[in-house]
């Protein structure tokens, strides 16, 4: 899923300060699964903001609505009425959703309430970890199922750097060295020979480096 974290209360309060009627717009897909912007988080944030504004002597009205997701018009249009009756929208979707809502409702300020961070998984209870950078050319099978582009801090393709220690990365001792995992897995599956092969430089055009990307599926267009 796309993982993100709700912005701080201080930052959100500041963004909503100029308005007297705002809509907290939640998203029921990725941000719900990482507890940043789903229906529950919207309800909690709304209650906290009401208390905060009341304390400041303001009468800000906080409206709440959560739609399935904010990256598709089919669901965004359900929010039209709620958006129309508010002065601003705090979107708790990922960066993609915030922009989509902003583009569909140009006249209303659409503010981000979540900091979107990475493409990841729920590794274990409470722990989300980054797994994929969207390089556009997946060859994780070459590396025993571990991506060195997203999981090695130096994107090394030909083995670990000199800072790998005790299976951990030099950048953050809490992070596993991706290459240690690749080597361990290769050993487990008897494929250490594969590690001797020279992996050539990457063509980064398929990644973000080639510019903002598009996917056109003509087969789905009527």
């Amino acid at each position: 899923m796309i993982v993100g974290q709700q912005k701080s209360m201080a930052e959100i309060k500041e963004k909503l300060g100029p308005f007297s009627r705002v809509l907290l717009l939640g998203c029921g897909t990725c941000v719900k699964t990482c507890f940043a912007g789903g229906e529950d988080e919207v309800a909690t944030l709304a209650a906290a903001l009401r208390l905060a504004f009341r304390k400041d002597g303001k009468n800000t009205i906080i409206d709440e609505l959560t739609i399935e997701r904010q990256c598709e018009d089919e669901f965004i249009k359900e929010a039209a009425a709620a958006i129309a009756r508010n002065e601003a929208v705090l979107s708790l979707a990922c960066g993609a959703g915030v922009q989509m809502v902003a583009s569909r409702f140009g006249k209303v300020p659409v503010l981000p309430g979540v900091d979107t961070t990475f493409l990841g998984v729920l590794e274990k209870q409470g722990l989300f970890t980054e797994k994929c950078l969207g390089c556009g050319n997946c060859i994780v099978d070459t590396f025993s199922g571990v991506c060195p582009i997203s999981r090695c801090a130096k994107k090394l393709l030909n083995g670990p750097c000199g800072g790998s220690r005790g299976g951990k990365c030099e950048v953050n001792p809490g992070t596993d060295c991706a290459w240690q995992i690749i080597i361990d897995r290769a050993k487990e599956s008897g494929q250490t020979d594969r590690l001797k092969a020279y992996i050539p430089p990457r063509d980064w055009r398929t990644s973000y480096s080639g510019g903002s990307r598009q996917l056109y599926r003509e087969d789905h267009v009527i």
Binding site: S8, M9, K13, A43, T44, A47, R50, L51, K55
Partner: protein
């Protein structure tokens, strides 16, 4: 056992009497913790909410209690390890911790919200907790969000 269920009043609807300002307490308790204790219903200063499991005191529920006019909120749960639903009281503890922090961030003072582990049906513990909360409120004053 007499209990009151909290409905969600709109912002501004206060506990019954204006003189109760500064002394309004909402107590959430799980059915097991309260045991056979009776809490008075006709109390302008006290509201009690019976939860099937203390883990149901989700963040939004605790905040709504303050929105409804509480100056302090108490959560009563069984001792850890003795929860009827195994982890309910642990989840409640984490939720209370999160909301305390949120209350500090918005300037309401996290000390208005507290969680206590009590032996089921321990009447004197409940009375002492209520007494402590009332005395805390003398120092904290009325909730600034009322």
């Amino acid at each position: 056992m007499t209990t009151t269920t909290l409905t969600w009043p709109s912002a501004g609807e206060s506990f019954r009497e204006p003189q109760a300002a500064g002394r309004r307490i909402t107590i959430f308790h799980c059915a097991s913790a309260i045991g056979g204790i009776t809490l008075s219903e006709d109390n302008s200063e006290l509201r009690t909410v019976n939860m099937p499991c203390s883990s149901l005191t989700r963040e939004v529920v605790l905040l709504k209690a303050f929105e409804a006019g509480a100056d302090a909120v108490v959560v009563l749960v069984c001792p850890e390890g003795a929860c009827h639903y195994l982890e309910g009281n642990i989840r409640a503890r984490k939720r209370v911790a999160k909301v305390k922090k949120l209350l500090d961030e918005i300037g309401l003072d996290g000390r208005r919200l507290n969680i206590y582990n009590i032996s089921p049906g321990d009447r004197s513990a409940v009375e002492s907790i209520i007494g402590q909360t009332v005395s805390d409120l003398v120092a904290l004053g009325p909730s600034p969000a009322c």
